[in-house]
Amino acid sequence: MATSVPRQRLLTRLDRIPPGGTGLLVAPAGSGKSVLLEQWAAAHPELGSCSVDLTPQHNDPVALAAAIVSGLERAGVRVDPQLAAKVAPGGESLGPAAVASLQHALQSHEDRLLLVLDDAHLLRSPALVAELGELALDLPSLCRLVVSSRWDVGLPVRDLRLAGRVVELRAADLAFGPDEGIELLERVSGCDLAADDAATLVARTEGWAVGLQLAAISLRSADDPTSFVQEFAGTDRLVVEYLTEEVLARQKPEVQEFLLDTSVLPWLSAELCDAVTDLDDGRSMLRHLLESSLFVIPLDRRGERYRYHHLVADLLRSVAGGRDPQRQRAARRRAADWFVEHGRVHEAVDQLLASEQWADAAELVRAHAQDHYERGESATLVSWLGAIERGYVDAPVSIGIDLLAAEVASNRFVRAAETHRRLGRRDDVTPGQRVAADALYACAGLDHLPADTVIDLSSEVLRSLSGLEEAEVADFLGVGGAASVRTMSGFMMAIAHFRSGRLDTAADVLEWVTTTEGMEYPLWRVNTLGAQALVRAWQGHLRQAVVLADRALAAADEVHLQQHPATCIAHLALAAVAYQRHEPDQMSRALQDAAARIDGRGRVLRDLLLLLEVRRAALVEGPRRAVELLGDGVADGSGAPIVAGAVVVEVRSAISSGEVGAARVLLDAAVPSTWLAPARIELELAVGDLRAAEHELARWHIDVGQPAQIVEHGVLRCELLAASGDVDAAIGQLHEVLAVAEVEGLRRPLLDRRPVMRLVAASVRRRPDPFLQSLVNAERTASALNSGQSRLVDPLTDRELSVLEYLPTRMTNQEIASTLHLSVNTVKTHLRNIYRKLEAPDRDAAVETASELGVLRPVGG
């Protein structure tokens, strides 16, 4: 604004933001934060600038990512075009993959950059704020971040202060001092004020920028400035309300009406203002407001778009709503119509919600729900539909069902259960609506309800469906209806069977699901194929699992949903396959892909991911590290295969440490399950109680349709026979096992048993065989790695091992970061840890020590 006062003392403070540092401007609305930032950016044209004016819409992380990418691209930063797609849709944060991609983009940019986030107080998700904090703590030296907010939002200010990487400007700093205040008053009012009068105004407003501006505008038309000042100084009314009414009262009636009518708008253009006011003088009015410094701020250089100062707009809306609520409602209605006509659904819905036009808002949301759902903006749908449901007296049942679907899609399971309960209390729910709601509730209950309850619910849904006409079944978000309900229910039932350990039943149900019409919808297809892959992997049908997982990912590719959380299950399946085949690097990649998509997903999948990560840690870093990583363990409700898998990890760790008593306690305390049978047998073998081992082996009724169980059972029988002295029988058993294992590449059960591997090694010497040789080679590598790691006081983590692989290649830190999709600072942190753990002063020494310990793997090996 032409009448703004440059405040050199504040500009100088901002100049002191260190390279890679953060500026925090925290002060109430109207303190001059945005103006100061504009002045500072203008004073530094050499800085590329990415500025994001945050709005409530940006609480949807998909929308926030899109805004940041757009801003960075305008600033000339090369950004992964898939960055926004890496955000887990419906979640409450950007997610680790998107954050890493953003950090990488900033690290790779070779020019100085200023990243500005304005109005950060509008971000309500603590997870999103935590991610901004991560960015702030890890900024490259060529970048500076400035965050402006009305209050402290929870950024890691203490850490930034300790590191000397923050400059803070707060309300007291931004307040206009006497000289600055007088200059502003005189510039805006055009009056020469008496010094006392000016000082009184500055004191009365406490140097608050918007207060001073309002006072100055009022002064322009005051007959006697001194009287105005005395009256203002003497009033006990709220400064900003008094002055706003003063300013308003001194405008011509048509200007007043324009200000009040258009105060409902998030931004202003001539055409939009004409639509809202139902006049045709929008262009001239906006020009007048701009020239009169009436708080209109240009949003572009062409003078086509503006907005009001936020606080002034709030006040004008408050005045307008108080004076004539019906008129305000009508203005919002006209605004909504204009926004709809111009394809701006968000703004249209906001207008209808703000004016409590619930039925129209509901209709508009429904018309566009599918688009938002498929773009991953479920959080936005929850926000809209929740507002409608709360405000709309006698809201139709369909609103509740849409809300339930949006809550399930955005993984808000507890809220979804509450919505389902509310629907259950209504007496106007049709059978077709009830069946849709129950199907959604089963989805929501996947983590919270016992598996058998989910199975019963899903069965009931399928039974009810058979008694209904297809058209009777409620649609939800444009993706519902009978076909979807049928497919979803089958899918939920299958997952519940998996949780219960009934893998064959799970497989059968999923096979049936693939024949349902709902499979035509890509996301159901991706989910179902992924689940089939997972079940097959767990059964040991590894080849089939890979084919199914690849089909799931191809289905996601076809519709550009590679980053969608639905693909998480397929990646977990591939990780499970890699585990069984003893392919640690493939396993690591699959786990990273799964982790990048799992944000916000339910407990079952997160526990499955944890179990697989723990298993990998056991392979690479040893059983002790695996138990550390397990931490508090997995939830009982995640299901027998997962819970038992976690117990097995702990039992094996105890056995390997010689703590057989502790191992027995763990097994006795665990919920009885056939999945624990291998661990029981291993324990008896470890203590040398062959009879007890035989007994446990006989008790274990394996499923002959599951290669994994056949091999595991056979391996333990082989070991028992060898321990009993019957070597010939042991070798015979071994060959039977190998015949099954080789077909699927099932190496894990063999590699886990050293006595059996000795027989394998002996067999290789007698009869070279590629599969046998692969087992021997795998054991050597794993043994060397574990042996080396076990000699370290503090073993290297998985990620540190990955970085270590590249040290002999002489790649620079930047190149390693780029290859591993990390920030340079993160690579440096890993290097510091590597040097510390290996007690090496530099790269060459680290490579030498790592080689001696046998922990250095070839790149990609």
């Binding site: 609305a29 109207g30 009305r150 608050w208 006990d236 009314r237 709220l238 900003v240 006040l315 408050s318």
Partner: protein, 69 residues
């Protein structure tokens, strides 16, 4: 719903109190102002406090007058 009391250093107007019901505003000594009103819950209270912050009023204290449920 519960009654809350908020003390500020200035007289709050409709902009601040519009979310409150049965509002009573009084001055303790012309300098401290006391607002008593009914709000839906703590979230509504936070909304009022944010508006006070926006209106450049300084918060001197607040408390809930009705016992928690």
């Amino acid at each position: 719903m519960a009654r809350y009391e908020i003390e500020t250093d200035g007289k709050p107007g409709g902009f601040v109190t519009e979310a409150m019901e049965q509002v009573g505003i009084s001055s303790l000594n012309g300098i401290r102002w006391r607002v008593v009103g009914t709000l839906a819950d703590d979230a509504a209270l936070l909304g009022v406090l944010h508006r006070m912050h926006d209106a450049h009023l300084h918060l001197l204290g607040f408390r809930r007058l009705d016992p928690p449920p």
